[in-house]
Symmetry: C2
Subunit: 391 residues, 2 copies
């Protein structure tokens, strides 16, 4: 029995597992030290009351024979897809209908599982630095990857390549750099994709954090995107669902490549390897769009945006170059030290856990990422510890 | 952009999607006809009170800052893995520990996703008839498959092959035939696997329905199985979780192939492509093992077993050869007609939805599957309609 040989091309540990290991070792040696975790992008505010109310009501339904629900539709319940289409797209003047929406348990799963649809010899264009999942999922299939360096001089936006890729991964607002994209910038990518017959896989998991009016939330704000792009979204960061698991993927109904309809293929993939999202979780996601839900969610997003402002100010105060934090929950800064040294120094001298930029790719070397998802008081304390560190 | 060419090797529709299409067409033409669905194996009893209580309590926790939980561990919460190990294994004298358990959102996902670990040129041995997912997941990877015919004369148990397979898929109690396996029978497979260096992927999603003492619930009841087998289990049929989504996979801690530890590889796969199971769902699964939960679940299993007895008696009364239904929620019978003709005849003449055996593979031709997961009164009505049909 032979193992998939592509496992040898992955790093031994998933980035966040490696961070967890170092933090565990430090915490065991320094049990009295108060750690502040600004590493993994996990939320800290509880679920909104509208959401927990929906969960409890749905649990009641599942406990009564007349209202019990078994297997859900592979593409998600119609009530949720309709709420998504109405609120996240139509209300913003974007033409996306409920039949173009596919509900799932996470944008990580979707971006990784989407590789099941791709031929193994397609060339994938992936940013550097980048969320590691895009690379790892393609490496596991043995698919060729060409990296697109994202550098400070270009505001960490990848340049449109002068070479042809079959598949392009883009993520805006970006993880890890926190930079957002304008429609003008993305129009270049849509033109590129249409011209080259390329598929754009667009991750907009952080769209809820966009504050500046010129920045797009959806690639479908750009004309022509429905001919070349799939969009991934999540309730994880928008509504604190990291521990509840709900996301969705948008596939325009006429999107076809290689003579095949992409939505139909994705549904076939999901029907084969997935069994839908829990009814109670889909009801919880629907509640995010209720009047009360929208107000409560906005408060949470504003809370995290306040954290981002505070961290950004602390880093700027140190004279360090800083990106992100305005339209994203991530702050990206340049350190005078190598990434993992910055990680170790901030852990050892300030009890702060950050994510080393090098963990996102070689172009991330020398940088580090902070998340704004912490508790407000702890974040304030982190900002003051940061201000005291000599980097 | 080229599509994964292996999609062309799949049937256009997943079996149950095809059944749903035919039923929808019939229902539209015959809106007044009361349909009884004995097709897809979906449960109908509501969640047990112990489970809905746990869901509500966990929703409360998720709504308070002090008890909120974000991302879960990739392998599942320790409290659930400990409950599984203690109740499903140690209490039955089977040596499986909590570090050998990996929680997921479904046994379908796990059996399909496990192919990510396998080299594309491994030979997979798969039963015919069979749950379609094993075939489809391997076809999508382009992995060679050799089918093992399961025939009435051998009680639908596959014969140990005189050829070598790298990976063997087994499912007992079986879907679709409903037959269970004895330890003596499975010992032959464990010997085969150890001798050939093969990996057994053992699906025991229906173990809760075993009634006869000679039949095994776990492959680890057979000595040597921990050297060659992975076991898949689910809360779907055991505790009515089809609409809640929780399952687990057991990987013995020392299980290695090709010089690599299988548990470590699976965790790496899950960390890359999956983000854990909702805390509230894991708390619900834990409640299945509480004293109240165990009693409530047993009542539900007995209820479905009663349905199986009734359907089996009706088919036997027609003089048709029948298998399963004793240690499984599925009843498998031989019809004088081809499978899809049997399907259409029972739909048109009796308003009954069954699963055509041919949908599970060519050796299923001439057979059909009924599920015992229906409502008791409807199942009784189905049994009486069956008794009146001339097949």
């Amino acid at each position: 029995m032979k193992i998939n040989e592509n496992f040898n091309n992955l790093k031994q540990n998933y980035l966040f597992a490696e961070i967890a290991n170092r933090v565990r070792a430090y915490a065991e040696k320094n049990p009295e030290r108060e750690l502040i975790r600004l590493g993994i992008g996990d939320v800290t505010l509880p679920l909104a009351p509208a959401v927990t109310d929906a969960l409890r009501a749905a649990a009641e339904e599942m406990g009564r024979k007349e209202t019990f629900r078994g297997y859900a539709d592979y593409e998600g319940y119609e009530f949720l897809r309709a709420a998504i289409a109405a609120n996240d797209y139509k209300a913003r003047g974007i033409d996306v209908g409920e039949t173009e929406i596919y509900v799932s348990d996470g944008a990580k799963s979707d971006t990784a599982n989407f590789t099941d649809l791709l031929s193994a010899d397609n060339l994938a264009a992936i940013c550097d630095p980048v969320y590691p999942v895009y690379n790892d999922a393609n490496l596991l299939d043995g698919r060729p990857i060409r990296l697109m360096p994202c550098v400070a001089e270009k505001g960490f936006l990848p340049e449109i390549p002068d070479w042809r890729a079959d598949v392009v991964y883009l993520c805006f607002p970006n993880n890890p750099t926190g930079v957002a994209a304008t429609a003008d910038y993305l129009r270049g990518w849509v033109d590129y994709a249409v011209r080259n017959g390329s598929l754009i896989l667009y991750d907009s998991a952080y769209e809820a954090f966009v504050r500046e009016p010129g920045c797009v939330r959806s690639i479908y704000e750009v004309e022509g995107a429905k001919e070349c792009a799939v969009e991934f979204r999540s309730f994880s960061k928008t509504a604190g669902f990291t521990g509840l698991r709900c996301a969705y993927t948008v596939i325009p109904k006429d999107l076809s490549f290689d003579g095949q309809n992409i939505g139909r293929l994705w549904l076939r993939r999901q029907a084969t390897k997935f069994n839908g999202v829990a009814y109670i979780v889909q009801k919880a996601a629907e509640a995010v769009y209720s009047e009360a839900g929208r107000a409560q969610i906005k408060e949470n997003i504003d809370y995290y945006a306040g954290n981002a402002d505070e961290l950004k100010a602390a880093l700027s105060g140190l004279g360090l170059p800083v990106w992100g934090g305005v339209n994203a929950p991530y702050i990206w800064f340049k350190s005078p030290l190598p990434s993992w040294d910055t990680f170790d120094k901030l852990l050892n001298e300030a009890g702060l856990v950050v994510t080393p930029g090098a963990g996102f790719g070689s172009c991330g070397e020398g940088y580090a990422r902070l998340t704004a998802f912490g508790d407000k008081e702890m974040t304030a304390k982190a900002a003051s510890r940061l201000s005291a560190v000599k980097l």
